[in-house]
């Protein structure tokens, strides 16, 4: 039962956090200059975006859930099953980030989910 709870937290908080970070990155804009000074300015711009802090908070929650899950199960099982976030991520990206997801990308995400199911079934 605990495994389901941790998996839920990893998927929901992790995906939600990544969506928030992605939204923050789109606010900051594309990086063209990779010199240290330019990257420092990029970091300062990033930490001033509220979405970034919401995203980091949610990802921290997901991180400690991952640690708890790794204390119970093997990493070769835990990490692949967290790919359940793909379905949530695609839907979230479409609704929250207004990305246009074509049929081919949906097909890829669907096949990834089948693979995750097989990994789940391999659990002993």
């Amino acid at each position: 039962m605990l495994e389901f709870f941790f998996l839920f937290m990893i998927v929901v908080a992790g995906t939600g956090g990544e969506l928030c970070v992605s939204r923050a990155m789109k606010v900051v804009g594309e990086v063209h200059d990779f010199r240290p000074a330019a990257l420092s300015r990029f970091v300062f711009r990033t930490i001033r975006v509220g979405w970034m802090w919401i995203g980091i908070s949610m990802m921290t929650l997901a991180f400690f859930s991952l640690l708890a899950m790794l204390s119970i199960e093997n990493v070769s099982f835990v990490v692949p099953v967290t790919a359940l976030s793909y379905a949530a991520g695609a839907v979230g990206a479409m609704l929250f980030l207004h990305e246009r997801i074509g049929p081919q990308r949906w097909l890829g995400v669907f096949i990834v989910c089948i693979g995750v199911t097989l990994v789940w079934l391999s659990r002993r």
Partner: protein, 138 residues
């Protein structure tokens, strides 16, 4: 929609960083947590004890360093590529994490799990042949 020069190459390089550092970080975290023990006991004193052991574990900090490297690469790539492209494309890390778990941690990886991981990679291949950006430039 006009792309910046070398958009695909730049995206591939950053996804390579993501695919290498995320699995390595997770394997190091797993090694650290297996040494610390199970978190099944949720009494406050036990939780505090586990938390202190997490903070003082070298494997955990090395894992966090790898995941931070992954996170920086991930943040940078998201400034020009779609989330719905980057997330599936980076799922090659599932194959890498199973390989590292098998070779470094000696985990038993059943055939069905390898098949599942292969299917994940097929999904990744399909996603990888879609355009990195479907929205307008920020």
């Amino acid at each position: 929609m006009k792309d910046s020069p070398g958009l695909h190459l730049k995206t591939c390089i950053f996804i390579l960083f993501i695919v290498l550092f995320a699995p390595l970080g997770n394997v190091l975290l797993s090694k650290g947590m297996k040494g610390i023990g199970s978190a099944r006991n949720w009494a406050p004193a036990d939780l505090l004890h586990i938390f202190v052991r997490i903070l003082t574990s070298g494997y955990i900090w090395l894992g966090v360093a790898c995941l931070l490297t992954f996170f920086v690469a991930y943040m940078l790539v998201l400034t020009w590529a779609d989330y719905s492209y980057v997330q599936p494309a980076s799922s090659f890390s599932y194959a890498v994490v199973a390989l590292l778990g098998y070779f470094l941690l000696g985990e038993a990886v059943p055939l069905l799990r390898w098949i599942g991981i292969f299917v994940i990679c097929v999904g990744v291949f399909i996603v990888g042949h879609t355009h990195p950006r479907t929205t307008g430039k920020a």
